[in-house]
């Protein structure tokens, strides 16, 4: 087995930074998509009409219970046959955002359900309009439980971004594979990528734990 080669690390750095940037881009956009789409699902869960509630439940259960990699391949290789074609990056961001929206939807649902029924009743007794009840009464109370849980899913999402290598998105893992393909050195690029994940994910999870302690009484 070869020894550790620092020059291989240095050679990998330009690719690594590109990969890191792209990973973070996918993470930020994917998170925003999952946060907003998840809220749409969560409101759908609470709809008075089954015509909305059932399809939303069916779709989100389906997405949540099929692997992200299968969804990525489906969007990347199958949808173009129906004339729907995006770049790997766009496809990957949409797919990961969609996939995680089904988890964030459950986070919203649980956070909203945890607001006591008396709060809804008080809002009704004051004739507050429904949108105002959501914005001023329910969501501000639910958010204390929602935010830390969402943060944990962002960390999970970060750790799922290497799946996008499967549809040739040049995130960190794919960059390390390209590097290895040209230099035949696998140890250094992969190690750098692994360390990068720890350096982001671990402090982030500590932050989430602190946030949870502060927000959830």
């Amino acid at each position: 087995m070869n020894g550790w080669d620092w020059s291989a690390v240095a050679d990998f750095m330009p690719r690594f930074w590109d990969g890191l940037l792209l990973t973070l881009q996918v993470l930020v956009l994917g998170s925003l998509l999952s946060f907003s789409l998840g809220l749409v699902w969560a409101i759908g869960f609470r709809s008075d009409t089954r015509l909305v509630r059932w399809p939303v439940q069916a779709v989100t259960e389906f997405i949540r219970n099929t692997p992200l990699l299968v969804q990525l391949f489906f969007f990347f290789f199958v949808l173009p046959e129906w004339g729907v074609q995006f770049s790997g990056l766009t496809t990957g961001t949409l797919a990961i955002g969609l996939h995680y929206s089904t988890y964030t939807a459950q986070v919203y649902r649980a956070g909203i359900d945890a607001v006591p029924a008396g709060q809804w009743e008080a809002a009704t007794a004051l004739s507050l309009p429904l949108p105002r009840t959501w914005i001023a009464v329910i969501l501000p109370q639910a958010i204390r439980r929602i935010v830390p849980a969402l943060g944990n899913y962002v960390i999970s999402m970060l750790k799922d971004t290497p799946l996008l290598a499967g549809i040739s998105v040049l995130e960190m893992l794919q960059q390390s594979r390209l590097e290895s393909a040209s230099t035949f050195q696998y140890t250094e690029p992969l190690t750098v990528v692994g360390i990068a994940f720890i350096l982001i994910a671990y402090p982030a999870s500590l932050l989430m734990r602190a946030l949870e302690r502060r927000l959830v009484r």
Partner: protein, 272 residues
């Protein structure tokens, strides 16, 4: 348009139900009317073909054992639950099955104070009181806050406007809840066991505030309580409930000193 709808909506069913007497004078004199109202939760019949009415400005206290349906009456009026049968009218407007817009209009006249206070914990005390006047009645923020401070003064909490509900005692929270309900200038105030969740030493402060309101305003009050002295003080009429029916009613002096019904005697014997 919405002003036209409610009368046409309710005229037919009400006149049909009361066709025996067909007396429109008593109808206009009634602020609240329950007509053959039945409410079931599962197999449990909580209200059984209930009829009663309340005239404007009256203070009516509902007493009776737990589970006799008293709270359900308040929750029906607040449209938090729907009746299975029968009609409920407020100022001649039928509550069910009115459209959401009509219900909101009727509901604006009704305020409710809950056993568990149900203040909004994310808002300051003052904003708890001003939120609905600003958002529902369309008051300006300054006007709403001035009125809010007045009401908080009235309940003895003028100096706690900026506090969060969690910083107040239960009794103080309940007084804020009373101010919050009054801020909507309701014609009807529903009081649902408002002192049941309080430590004993905090009960008097809340009841004093309510006595004041009963004495100095013309708000119609419907009150579910286990505080019999309070009921005796403020009530014009006491309704004794048992198993979803009114079994006895009358002025408090008579109900408390000379109850006629056996169940009333038993109940009062147990709580007094």
């Amino acid at each position: 348009m919405s002003a036209d709808l409610p009368p046409t909506n309710d005229l037919t069913p009400v006149s049909a139900k009361t066709s025996a007497s067909a007396n429109t004078d008593t109808d206009t004199d009634e602020l609240i009317r329950f007509d053959k109202v039945t409410k079931r939760f599962g197999r449990n019949t909580v209200l059984d073909n209930l009829c009663f009415s309340v005239r404007p400005g009256k203070h009516v206290t509902l007493i009776g054992p737990s589970g006799s349906g008293k709270t359900t009456i308040l929750r029906l009026l607040m449209t938090l639950v729907r009746p299975d049968e029968g009609t409920i009218t407020v100022s001649g407007d039928q509550l069910f099955p009115a459209g959401p817009k009509e219900v909101r209009e009727i509901r604006k006249n009704i305020g409710m104070v809950f056993q568990q206070f149900n203040l909004f914990p994310n808002m300051s005390v003052l904003r708890n009181v001003t939120e609905a006047p600003v958002r529902v009645l369309g008051l300006g923020k300054d006007e709403a806050e001035a009125r809010g401070r007045e009401l908080l003064d009235l309940v003895g909490l003028g100096d706690r406007c900026g506090a969060k509900p969690s910083q107040l005692s239960g009794g103080q929270q309940q007084r804020v809840a009373i101010a919050r309900a009054l801020a909507m200038r309701p014609k009807i105030l529903l009081l649902d066991e408002v002192t049941s969740a309080l430590d004993p030493e905090l009960v008097a402060g809340v009841l004093d505030v309510l006595r004041d309101i009963a004495r100095t305003t013309d708000i119609t009050m419907l009150c579910v309580t286990h505080e019999m002295n309070f009921a005796r003080d403020i009530s014009d009429e006491v309704l004794m409930f048992d198993s979803g029916k009114v079994i006895e009613s009358g002025p408090p002096e008579r109900i408390f000193s000379a109850p006629e019904h056996e169940r009333t005697r038993e109940f009062l014997g147990a709580v007094l």
